[in-house]
Symmetry: C2
Subunit: 205 residues, 2 copies
DNA sequence: TTGGCCAGATACTCTGAGTATGGAATATCC
DNA sequence: GGATATTCCATACTCAGAGTATCTGGCCAA
């Protein structure tokens, strides 16, 4: 681990600049509507640099996606780690997730465009981390004997997509804050009837 | 309303031929991977004819989509119309829907590609018919006092997307028939805990 | 018959992703 | 420390394919 030389710093800076421009443009104009020349120009570079660092347009998008995705996953994990009780962890995580949905970049990049650009299967591969989080929480709940339905990959998957849709609804609403609240209530009710039907309070043992 | 002349018959035939080729190619190769020249050639025509009948590639796709969508909606409506009791109508409709998901064209065109090609908002506009069906059934259920949650556009939307995801899961499975069964069970359980928690039997009054 | 019109064909433009190549700076080797 | 390889990025190109402009042959109405 030698200290980074000037050269390497420059290289990383151009790469980061490309990712930044791409994130900005993909978010604002959409993947199909932004050309690679634009991305490069916005970073004061040329397509040559871009193709040096990334395999192609899709690969560039994937990197951008991963960045945003990781950021959100991080906050969800942190929110969940604050508590121990399974149900509380789940609701905390969901809250953090829904809050993240107010983030324009997450909305546009991860929710709206990712499936269109990469296709559903590839997209699901990249979503595996998030799905894993949800799956783990549901299993915890099951172990604690707090769920009617036993967890299964299919259940997790279906619930995850439901959350994504709820998330998109938040982003599309004219008043996202209000929508956030409405969605929060609905999701809690849903989870409650699906999993916690036996408990009236979220904090019950 | 005069009888159709030869000429008009020919015109309708070429239009239909274009739609057929497009359906075939979009289904098999995907929207982005099929060129309009291919579509035209497959119908033994040229791009000129295609642009004469359709405003562009997206418009062509929309027509194809509408065709498939209407076909499925039709079967769902018919299945629901066979019974009167709200809960039975819902389960019948869902069964018909999930069966339809075994259809390759519905899978590829409506579920997989539509959002990518047209964008989510336009896609939802075209899904309005289907959503309306689900919404009506849920309201019926609520009127009959058979649901814990009161119906709302958001609830309908979220449940609808959940069904779409379940539908995609069916289509992707190595054994769609088996997946169909698994999904059927899960969906029934879910709806049961969300809406019919008070009833043990699907046919109870 | 004749002029207009419509379905469809032909030939074009133009954008943008991807490629080939060049060249300057830096790293590596002897 | 000079020669050589390698890295990073720029310039100049190809090529596919969506969309457009224009043409033509047949049908219908007057």
């Amino acid at each position: 681990m030698t200290v980074k030389g000037r050269r390497q710093e420059y290289v990383e800076a151009t790469r980061a600049a490309l990712l930044d421009s791409a994130l900005e443009l993909f978010t604002e104009k959409g993947f199909a509507q932004t050309s690679l020349d634009e991305v490069a120009a916005a970073a004061r570079l040329t397509k040559g640099a871009l193709y040096h660092h990334f395999a192609g347009k899709q690969a560039l998008f994937e990197q951008v996606l991963a960045t945003v995705n990781d950021r959100i996953a991080q906050t969800v994990v942190e929110a969940g780690a604050e508590v121990d009780e399974p149900w509380a962890r789940l609701t905390r995580g969901l809250d953090a997730f829904l809050d993240a949905c107010l983030d324009r970049e997450y909305q546009r990049i991860c929710l709206r465009q990712a499936p269109a650009v990469l296709g559903w299967e590839r997209c699901r591969e990249l979503e595996a981390g998030m799905m894993g989080l949800l799956d783990a929480m549901l299993r915890e709940l099951a172990v604690a004997g707090r769920s009617r339905l036993q967890p299964s990959p299919l259940l997790t998957r279906v619930l995850f997509r439901m959350l994504s849709e709820a998330a998109m609804a938040i982003g599309e609403a004219e008043d996202p804050k209000a929508a956030r609240v409405e969605v929060g209530v609905l999701v809690e009710e849903l989870l409650h009837s699906v999993h916690g039907g036996n408990a009236g309070s979220l904090t019950s043992r």
